[in-house]
Amino acid sequence: MLIFTILLDGIAYGMVLFIISVGLTVTMGLMRVVNLAHGAFAMLGGYLASVMIRHYGIPYVPAAFLAAIACGALGGVAELTIYRPLYRKGELAQVLLTFGLIFISIAAMTLIFGPRPIDESMPKWLEGLVDVGFRTYPTYRLFLIGVGAALALALWFIIERSLFGARLRAAVDDPGMARAVGINVNLLFTLTFVGGCALAGFGGAIGAGILPIDPFYALRYLVLFLVVVVIGGLGSFRGSLAAALAVGIIETAGKYLVPQLGSFLLWIIVFGLLLWRPNGLLPAKTAS
């Protein structure tokens, strides 16, 4: 039965990683911006949801949605003011500036919420266990798996089946040509950036039980989010889903089976994968 525990835990973990990282893969794939500060939006989402639940008595799910909207709005402002000048600069400038944003987020969150992690604010109906036929399993993790799957389906529909998605895919594949056929790539990017930040905020809010919220969140999990994006392939939606689930399952398996190794296993695998496929497992088609 251990294998089911590992799989379910790993998938729940992977779904959180997916919800948070999927916006980043579009950012890095579409505009080639290395955005290290993406996790800060997830952290903000977690904090905002917690404040709304505790101090304003807003129920869990609406609070997560409101936090997502707030993160999306902030993401839009950040895109227009801070990120836009970065597109023309090199990778190093992008890495440094967004690293600076992480520092600012750490300082700001410590100032506002204090240095300690916040307690989970889970509603009653998510606590406890649920019978899944052959055994019982925590409701919260099943909830994460369900939400993650639903979001993945919705995103698949938007990206693969809608006009917006077709434009987005075109812009990822070849931004120059997309512009030439009249797609407003800048607007598209602002919109996806907003969407990605909103998803990150949502993921941070509902995933707080797995990735606890504290001021160093953006720095601590930064590498995990980047791994998901880079292993999956920049700009690849399917890739980031596959990579998020793989990372979740590998990390969980490592913790259950060889706890003395810590994250060592994951890093060895990441290292090997990147050497083998530097463009990720399921890279988006790019013209370059």
Partner: protein
């Protein structure tokens, strides 16, 4: 940049062509950092030398990153891995192998250099995001090794390093004992930094260094004219990692405590901050950036550590958006205001293609 481009200014390093032996009056400022460093030794009250040593160690570490990231264009977010390797190796050697600091320093440097060259051989085939993710992965692997290998590294308790033997004990001279005030450690760090600086200077002025300049700007063209691009990058990366290892070893000998912090992503980020703050590809940028960072950090973190994080973050954003070339670039612009044109100006911006 809106500065007038004079025909005489070729994109050269802002260093005299003839080396230290033939100082023209204009170049006398090359002595300034060393004069300041020595003056610091003699003038500050006891108790401040450890802070000075910290500055010197960070200058050396930043200088190592300048070689890899600045000159060779290897974007790494894992340079702390080699700083940490040097620190742990030097620390372990004092207690288990030989108390002689110079022997420990040389071995730690060699180990970091070899590890750097070996991992460089693997990762320098890749480019861009994949490459910097690989440097992150290597740093994380080293971190996990240090974290789990408790018998050697002490895990998250850190490693307390015994006091090394006197500096030149190997040669039978017992005069430079490591004292409590850290004065010997300061001179030790300053000497090592000076040697490494001369090596770095020689490298960036050599044809080898110039070829890396070309590789950074256009690897394809360099390959087309017959440069062994990958080997050059591996060599430079190895040298840079050895230098980072030296910095780590110095810290282990001087501060005598090695912790997991010396392998963390945060340190890799901070050293990049120091480099960009000072100005890349300038060698002296490492001096300005690291000194500024460590001294202001020491002052501001005493008030409130999170206030400092805010300052660092805002500084980074400001430097990237508004201050190309960092503090060295700023000095250039101030010098230009006073009519003293320096040849290195286009260097900072001239390779944006």
């Amino acid at each position: 940049m809106n500065q007038p481009i004079t025909p005489a200014s070729t994109p050269q390093l802002n260093l005299p062509a003839s080396g230290l032996t033939a100082l023209r009056p204009v170049d006398a400022w090359h002595l300034a950092p060393w004069i300041i460093a020595l003056a610091f030794y003699f003038l500050v009250p006891p108790g401040f030398h450890t802070l000075g040593t910290n500055v010197l160690v960070m200058i050396l570490f930043t200088l190592s990153l300048d070689l890899a990231l600045g000159f060779a264009g290897i974007i790494t977010l894992g340079h702390a891995a080699f700083f940490g390797v040097g620190a742990y190796a030097a620390g372990v050697m004092v207690s288990k192998l030989t108390p002689d600091p110079i022997m420990g320093l040389l071995l730690a440097t060699a180990l970091a250099g070899v590890l750097g060259a070996l991992t460089g051989m693997l990762i320098l085939h890749t480019q861009g995001v994949a490459m910097f993710m690989l440097t992150l992965a290597i740093a994380s692997i080293f971190y996990e090794v240090a974290n789990q290998w408790r018998s050697v590294t002490g895990g998250d308790d850190g490693l307390t390093v015994p006091r090394p033997a006197a500096l030149l004990a190997y040669f039978g001279f017992e005069g430079f004992r490591f004292d409590f005030a850290g004065k010997t450690a300061y001179l030790y760090a300053l000497s090592v930094l000076f040697v490494w600086f001369l090596i770095a200077w020689r490298i960036v002025k050599s044809p080898f260094g110039r070829s890396l300049d070309g590789i950074r700007q256009n690897p394809r063209r360099m390959r087309a004219i017959g440069t062994p691009v990958w080997w050059r990058l591996v060599a430079m990366y190895g040298i840079s990692c050895a230098m980072a290892g030296s910095a780590g070893a110095l810290q282990a000998h001087a501060i005598r405590l090695v912790g997991l912090k010396s392998l963390e992503l945060e340190l890799s980020g901070i050293v990049a901050v120091m480099l960009v703050l000072g100005g890349e590809r300038r060698l002296y940028g490492a001096f300005l950036g690291a000194a500024f960072y460590v001294l202001v950090h020491d002052w501001a973190a005493a008030i409130n550590p999170f206030y400092w994080m805010f300052v660092v973050g805002a500084l980074l954003v400001a430097v990237v958006l508004f201050l190309d070339g960092g503090l060295m670039g700023l000095l250039d612009r101030i010098a230009a205001l006073f009519g003293r044109k320096k040849s290195g100006e286009e260097q900072a911006s001239g390779d944006a293609k």
